[in-house]
Amino acid sequence: MTAFARRALPALALGLAGGPALAQPRQLLNVSYDPTREFYREFNAAFARHWQERSGQAIRISTSHGGSGRQARAVIDGLAADVVTLALAYDIDEIAARGLLARDWQQRLPHNSAPYTSTIVFLVRQGNPKGIHDWGDLARPGVAVITPNPKTSGGARWNYLAAWAWARRQPGGSDGSAAEFVTRLYRNVPVLDTGARGSTTSFVQRGQGDVLLTWENEAHLALQEFAGARLEIVTPGLSILAEPPVAVVDAHADRRGTRAAAEAYLQHLYTPEGQGLAAKHHYRPRDPVALAAARPRFPALEFVTVDADFGGWQAAQRMHFADGGSFDRIYRPGR
């Protein structure tokens, strides 16, 4: 291939596409997961202002949203993300395993590279007609539970692990009793959507199910977006501490010369402005001041973590979500 074609082909392709990438010299691509759309839309504008003041450069931040696994796969397949902000560390580990960023990426930013956290709560119909208060109620006969497929949705994996951890912490609980509990729970699931947003739509718009297992931030957003739908949030006594991590994709940022901006972008998430915006969009901020300010929305509860209770994401993935894992065994015929 000649030098001309090397330059001309992509230029031609971009030119045909309307050429936003060529017209804007400074550009960051943030590849994120589903429920962060509203938060990053506001945060991107805030960071662009901040960056303009600091460096005098205009910057344009594009975002791509979708299921966490699908987004990680897109980056692995060549989507030129400067930063990834995904639902779980496992997905970024997979990107790192392909050599696109350092393996110790999670040590590069404070709090395990997770600038905000969330947890899994229940969304029920107004008045809580089925009397759902804790995880045990989800496996009762006659309760229909809506949750997405853990194979395709990062959020659903947190749901699954939270239910498992709760069952194991019950008196006399073990991995065996936990498996039995989640099996009964998933027997109550009538629709298994591919993503968190699909599940919310099934629950709210289509009237499926009695309870939706979802991110705390998604539950608050649903209350806000579907004001007429008459919903209530039930926070269980114990749930999982979900830590959605962020990272600069070294290979792409270095090639595109965007490292400085990409690092500043992620660091800005930890500033009071970033933390305040996270809280505004119902993510639990790490900053104690911001958390205290938003306290009524974020009731205290007991947290389990993937690292302490499941030995980290690699182990959890192998045991529960890989082929033949505990989730697959739920749907094995003859049970």
Binding site: R6, P10, L14, G18, A21, H65, G78
Partner: protein, 277 residues
């Protein structure tokens, strides 16, 4: 007309009513639902959703992808139909099956094959990356996936017609010393032009509406690699249902215009072809 070649009037009415009911409930109602949902919050919201810069860029991208994919499949489709209908050669039936094969391939696979070829982990991925050429998650990937999905439409419309028209006219022209190109341009093309146009229109409608395949190769970057169907999904996932259905309604409207044009062409074509058949 006797009782054996005409259906009795009561039966006619019954059958017409049955078809109106079937098509109305089964085909028309979903379309009505799209427009109802789009206008649920009024025209202002629907139009605002269409005027959004991201929506405009999705519209532009969709039209551009179709503008590249449809001519490619038109040229190939004509050539394939010409070979299949006008010549006998070993493997002709195999060729027919292969041309129709993309119909039977799931759209997900239609996207996947290009990822396997040109993705960073694919066959040519590392080479493409070294040279800074983007195919997947850029315009070329969207075009390739769309071409794959709409591949058989033109050939599929032309083959039965060209077979039915037989070869006598072409053979006569050839005997009179016309070259292959002249035979095609002067004899075959005038005979098939209306069917060709309607095949092209169908191909175009499908190209604009494709979702599964482009979803695999798009990367979903707002304002850059989102086509209209993907933009519908994005808005839907942002709970902007009115906006999602507004874009969907625009897509449906484009499809309806296409169908209208096709019906018009068939009427014109029907009149002209009447003499030939």
């Amino acid at each position: 007309m006797s009782a054996a070649t005409e259906d009795p009037p009561w039966l006619r009415r019954l059958l017409i009513l049955a078809v109106v009911g079937l098509l109305g409930l089964f085909l028309l109602l979903p379309l009505v639902a799209v427009f109802t949902e789009a206008l649920r919050r009024g025209w202002a919201v629907a139009l605002a959703a269409l005027a959004d810069p991201d929506a405009l860029s999705a519209i532009r991208l969709t039209l551009l992808v179709a503008a590249i994919a449809v001519p490619v499949n038109t040229l190939g489709g004509i050539a394939a139909a010409w070979c299949i209908a006008k010549y006998d050669f070993p493997g002709r039936r195999l060729l027919t099956v292969l041309v129709e094969l993309p119909f039977a391939v799931s759209p997900v696979i239609s996207g996947l094959v290009w990822v396997l070829l040109f993705g960073a982990q694919g066959l040519f991925g590392p080479w493409l990356q070294r040279h800074g050429i983007g195919i997947i998650f850029a315009l070329p990937g969207l075009v390739l996936a769309t071409i794959f999905v709409t591949f058989p439409f033109v050939a599929r419309t032309l083959v039965p017609l060209m077979q039915a028209q037989g070869r006598e006219e072409e053979e006569a022209a050839a005997t009179l010393g016309a070259s292959g190109w002249q035979v095609f341009r002067r004899v075959t093309l005038p005979n098939i032009r209306w069917a060709l146009l309607s095949g092209v229109l169908l191909c175009n409608a499908r190209a604009m509406g494709e979702f599964g395949a482009v979803s695999v190769v798009s990367g979903h970057v707002r304002g850059e690699t989102n086509t209209m169907p993907l933009h519908v999904e994005i808005l839907y996932n942002e709970y902007q249902f009115a906006g999602a259905f507004a874009v969907a309604a625009l897509l449906a409207l484009l499809a309806l215009v296409t169908l209208g044009a096709k019906a018009l062409l068939e009427r014109l074509g029907g009149r002209r072809m009447g003499g030939a058949l």
